[in-house]
Symmetry: C2
Subunit: 190 residues, 2 copies
């Protein structure tokens, strides 16, 4: 999406070759009208799939997931994150490695929020090593729910997440793929 | 709002006289279409105020704040929570006591997200002892931003937050006020 590339160029800060700060419009401060445009694009790209639920992870995935759920007229479920493994038995859990926090975390979703009747679209703000996505797919698997696809606003194309998901046969839609970034600026994939 | 009372009666779980679980439609799993109805009600109740920004706290305030920001066509800013006091100098911070976590936390918002030109509507899912609201007002104060009002989905009328805010002269709108709850059920304020 050209509009998104322009926004990234204008309003993001490149910290280093791996870390990009998009707090000004996507996380922390959220341009809701802009997110509506992105959500409509997800709707278009996953058109025709019978989506029953949007699934994401707290915190920064929530705004774009909520706006996308509005387009599909379905509920959104966000997995909560914690360090403990000791949740009630009523929870589906998956262990992930958090890239930003540099530690292991456990994702959890109550049993009654996902079932075998669900066709889930996973939405996240950023795709890096794919650990959020992997954890959420594991949870869908436990619940016998189908995964209709994975949509993210920004994919770090130089990290492994995108390839891993596509190799698994997942329908991945990234609204913008960054091939490299650094002192010379941001290079987008055409 | 009668619709909200019915939803609380149908889909919430009373844990004890102080704790109500609304995870099934408001937090964790979010009924986005229902939240749109609530957001429109906030728009109606704060009609005529020149709102420039919606402010909330991560995590469970984010969905209703995003939907409300969409109604007002303004950005939403969410304060991040942490235990440390040592954030960069570019942050407005406020110390709060977290009722659910039973510990002190620090709210933080980057300087450039709020200014003296802002007229802020604070939105949260639940109003209990008012500590989130107090922290966010403190941050608005540091930024010399005006507070146009405070809106919450559920107010625990038996706790002190609502009275504290109204005594300060804040325009408070709670879509539903619970006067008591327990084994005999939930009693709403008329």
């Amino acid at each position: 999406m050209e509009l998104l590339k322009l926004r990234v160029l204008r309003d993001s800060v490149v910290h280093n070759q791996e870390m990009l700060n998009v707090d000004d419009f996507l996380s922390h401060q959220v341009d809701v009208e802009f997110l509506e445009t992105l959500a409509k694009e997800f709707k278009r790209r996953f058109e025709g799939k019978r989506i029953t639920k949007i699934l994401t992870v707290e915190v920064s995935g929530i705004p774009i997931a909520v706006m996308t759920a509005r387009q599909f007229k379905v509920p959104v479920v966000y997995a909560k994150k914690g360090k403990s493994n000791f949740w009630s038995q009523e929870m589906y859990t998956a262990k992930i490695y958090s890239f930003t926090r540099n530690e292991d975390m456990t994702l959890r979703v109550p049993h009654n929020y996902l079932s075998e009747d669900d066709n889930v679209l996973i939405i996240d703000d950023i795709l890096a090593n794919g650990s959020n996505a992997e954890g959420l797919m594991e949870i869908c698997d436990y619940a016998s729910a189908s995964v209709a696809g994975f949509g993210c606003v920004l994919e770090k194309g130089f990290m492994t997440g995108g390839r891993m998901l596509r190799d698994l046969g997942i329908h991945v839609e990234s609204l913008c793929v960054i091939d490299s970034m650094g002192p010379d600026g941001i290079k987008f994939r055409e």
